[in-house]
Symmetry: C2
Subunit: 394 residues, 2 copies
């Protein structure tokens, strides 16, 4: 179990990715994830957290008359989660919640014969095209790095830890990103906006399952995974999908922080991508929009640090860390997932518009403070009324 | 069970849709569908038909070296089917193949409280927007018509007939269409092109499940269905999705015959669409491209008739009917689904290009024969080399 130590240039690679790993680094265990803790840790679990989950999973009977939290808003949110939930619920009988606690089970096995797809660079190019054909919005490739794998998996059902099961031959990781709907995210906080989250996961599940099965059909091993098995963001950064933001989220060039991530571990020989920089680090240094907007002050307003709010932060990495307890606490009070930090992020834009691409370029230059001021002055990041979302669709 | 007889204007509606129903009309039983017969009917079932199905469902071990039929082509095809297969296989233990023999089981029930979405026209507009948000390419709405429902369902597993289970309150049918990839279809015949079929179904399953669950979350009943429960094309024509073509397929204005259909039966009050005409009937009268191109002469070259090739044709409808036995026989010989009739159809175009929309308009005028000649002269409908598809992606 020392796959990552094979590489002689780990420090150089970390520097390239902007990772500041400390000597007291410890791998993270899924048990300490705040969502897992909301099942086993009495300090997190509450009647409100139970209700939070139940309203995703039962015929609708709980909603508020508040705009954005009506039956219709929840109806759309839960319908958007439907496909993701179906996959997640497939193996409950075997104490598996696939996509969140456990990797996905592929229905067909590995082909006996291995196909030669050319050089690792040619193979990588082809896999990316196939993944995009299956609906992936972004695809990057990096090498397996055990440091970001959960020490153990955790079951929300039996409340037990379990060892990882990724075979040792899996030396490559394909990272996918699915964009979330810009207009829905503008209505945050709302149950309605959760439809963007649900649709992101539903599409993500489809993509990682299809790509992994394609690789197995070529005669190689592949493990399809969503929020399970590992911390996705370090892999995504290494795979060139974006930079790390103050809100603890990946910021992609194409969709800002408005993405959901998937991972496919594989032994298919693949060329790797390099981390990208387009000015996010310096921009987040200057910008505190997410930190100011967070209703429970879960996002730091200072420089990156090694401080841990609680056990839900990884140990020994200098970075912006968020307080998962406060964050999830707000979700349970709202009775839906919150994405205020995504909504207000100046990188949360519809970059199909050329002037917003100019703004993104500006944010990566010394004029970043001007861009930040402009962003606020133009009213970007403000909440739109969920009723406006419903009627604007007409 | 006489829902359809409530309407006083059935003959008028049939005329509007171009249906020519004869006095000896008999509803179709799913048992007589040629795919179902390939399980129970010794005249259809063979080692080749068993192998045809097996190569979709087992780790790859059977392919040819012929271009378009290599391991890589099958690998992509089967991966594209992966999500659809997963849904189809969910309830095998209960003798159900959902999406093909049986309607889908929704994971969450109907909400206790019914929401008021406004007038049926307003509700229809909103449902269409939601369906498109979930990824539907086309959506239309019509009323339930028992004549197109299978008399009985059929199980490919236990080889038994079973009664329909659509509740009597379901007076409306939402019809969805998913487009299939234009460039993949150009490689027909090939296993590679089956990836377009598989992806069409995988996306279709996602859409009908999400829309049906949304409706149940609003407090109304909804049944999500793909190739199961009924003949989809009559509902699609009534719902305004397109016209009927010589090859026995729906021809949509947006994607020609390059679509897969889904259906959602519901008691949600919805305004209905009207059938559309854009000249397909007269064009198919003049065009025999599909009929000429079919390698087994399964498509008629004459006018619509009431002739039945065999029990796999519905009885008592004057229309272009295809010989399903010959058609499926060719599929088993090729060991993949054939879409030559789709590939060569002059309506199979990428209509995002304005000059092709001009051609479509021309096809609906007395200049249709000029358009038909142009279509051939310009080389549309010719097969492209599957290797070219793989390399053109670079």
């Amino acid at each position: 179990m020392s796959r990552h130590t094979r590489s002689p240039s780990r420090n150089a690679k970390d520097a390239e990715a902007g990772f500041e790993i400390q000597s007291d680094f410890q791998r993270f265990s899924q048990r300490d994830d705040v969502f897992r803790r909301s099942w086993w840790d009495a300090r997190i679990r509450s009647a409100k957290s139970d209700l939070f989950y139940a309203t995703y999973r039962e015929p609708l009977s709980n909603w508020r008359s508040t705009d954005g939290f009506t039956q219709k808003d929840y109806a759309l949110r839960n319908a958007a989660w439907q496909v993701s939930d179906l996959f997640t619920d497939l193996k409950l009988d075997a104490d598996r919640r696939e996509g969140f606690n456990d990797e996905f089970t592929l229905t067909r096995g590995v082909a006996d014969e291995r196909i030669d797809l050319g050089t690792p660079a040619e193979t990588a190019a082809e896999i990316k095209r196939v993944a995009k054909g299956f609906g992936a919005d972004l695809v990057g490739i990096t090498d397996y790095d055990e440091r970001w794998m959960y020490v153990n998996k955790f079951s929300d059902l039996s409340l037990t830890e379990r060892p990882q099961e990724i075979p040792a031959e899996m030396t490559n990781v394909i990272v996918t990103a699915q964009s979330m709907d810009y207009d829905l995210i503008r209505t945050v906080p709302s149950a309605l906006s959760g439809a963007a989250t649900g649709a992101g996961y539903s599409r993500d599940a489809m993509v990682v399952l299809s790509v992994a099965q394609y690789i197995q059909n070529l005669g190689y091993q592949a493990v399809a995974s969503m929020n399970d098995t590992s911390l996705a963001i370090p892999f995504a950064i290494r795979a060139g999908l974006g930079e790390y933001g103050r809100h603890g989220l990946l910021i992609t060039k194409e969709f800002g922080p408005r993405v959901r991530l998937g991972k496919i571990y594989t032994d298919l020989p693949l060329a790797h991508d390099k981390p990208i920089q387009f000015g996010v680090k310096k921009f987040c240094d200057a910008c505190q929009k997410c930190s100011t907007a967070c209703p429970v002050q879960a996002i730091p307003n200072g420089p990156p640090s090694t401080e841990r709010y609680n056990q839900s932060n990884i140990k020994g990495v200098r970075k912006w860390s968020i307080d998962g307890e406060k964050c999830f606490g707000y979700w349970t009070v709202q009775n839906t997932d919150c994405s205020i930090c995504i909504r207000v992020c100046p990188y949360n834009k519809d970059f199909s518009k050329w002037w917003l691409r100019v703004g993104r370029w500006l944010a990566g230059t010394p004029l970043r403070r001007l861009m930040l001021w402009l962003d606020g002055w133009l009213g970007y990041g403000e909440r739109i009324d969920p009723r406006r979302w419903w009627s604007a669709q007409g």
